[in-house]
Subunit: 213 residues, 2 copies
């Protein structure tokens, strides 16, 4: 009984090793190679334990925040990474990801499968202080990396400063202090000019380009 | 006051992005490229939340387990990864890593710096149920990847089956059920012959080779 259950769990742990092969638009600050979802998820966990004291909600259940951050991107094993500024592709994102969640969390044994699915649903719904804070961290970390790689992902996809601000303003719902810091960082990055003039709303049509056909 | 503190914390979060560039001997199961410390740390967190029910200690503080797993390898940013079977290099490992801990955790603001250092010390000392379980997960995950990459890291460094068993038997101190599963996996991997005859203790001098000059 325990053996069968543990074998099923180990099968799941091996399956999700694939998260290391899902690459994002954001670059690592040091090597400037694309970051993958596994190391991104780790970096979010690290940021969450460092920054939890700045959450708007003082009685945050940090364990549930971490569980959500650990599993939030597993669906991308099947559904792929959707760039946050790709409006066309984001429209069908939830449907693709919900199918992926059925398959991937369905690999876990009874009880645990439902528990992990509920954590993922909670993260997606953003209705609890824990999921709102987890989502804030999930937005803050790419801002940090972009601001330290000359806005690489923003520049590549011609995302304007106003779209970066609009996309990331919900950080404030999880942590007002963190959003103050993020908006300072964004302003400084665009002021430096290294992110390129194409980023500035004043330089072209608002909204940047969609990546999908 | 909050701004200065948050800037210091964000500086730390950016600094430890370097963990994504520290590569290990273990290969990822899918692409068979070397795994890095950041994605390894994520994979341990994932394994810990899936397998916590098998811990010998039923009242485990899982939040502290996760915090330890998130930060346990940060010292390798300065000290590099030490292969678990490299006995010569392991002898000076703790001294190198303690210096790294001084610098890296020292980047955090007052209070938090001491808290993170205490978590790392707890992990290293293996004297609490949480650190013993975290260490069990840290041994189990490379076994899982090695068993699913034809024993790549073991074969490359001619590590025999008896050394693999000896190195990983302490998993039992954190979870007897997990060690039963790991020892089944190790036996099966060596029986398959794909890990190569050089791995078997009977085929050569015991102990494998040291990697250091």
């Amino acid at each position: 009984m325990t053996q069968k259950r543990i074998e099923q769990q180990v099968g799941f742990i091996l399956e999700v090793d694939k998260l290391k092969e899902v690459f994002r638009q954001t670059l690592c600050a040091q090597s400037r190679r694309p970051e993958n979802d596994a190391e991104h998820s780790w970096h979010l966990c690290l940021a969450a334990i460092v920054l939890a004291e700045h959450a708007n909600e003082p009685r945050l259940d940090l364990l549930r925040v971490l569980k959500m951050l650990i599993i939030h991107d597993l669906v991308e094993i099947d559904a792929g990474d959707t760039f946050a500024y790709d409006t066309a592709r984001m429209a069908q994102q939830h449907e693709r990801e919900a199918r992926a969640a059925d398959r991937i969390f369905g690999m876990l044994p009874g009880g645990q499968s439902a528990e992990f699915r509920a954590l993922w649903d909670e993260f997606e719904d953003r209705r609890t202080p824990e999921s709102v804070f987890a989502a804030a961290i999930d937005r803050f970390q790419p801002v940090l990396l972009n601001c330290n790689t000359d806005g690489a992902a923003w520049r590549r996809h011609k995302v304007s400063e106003d779209r970066v601000v609009a996309r990331n303003a919900p950080i404030a719902a999880g942590s007002a202090a963190l959003w103050m810091e993020a908006s300072r960082m964004i302003a400084k990055a665009f002021e430096s000019g290294r992110t390129g003039p194409a980023h500035r709303a004043a330089d072209g049509p608002a909204g940047g380009v969609s990546l999908s056909p």
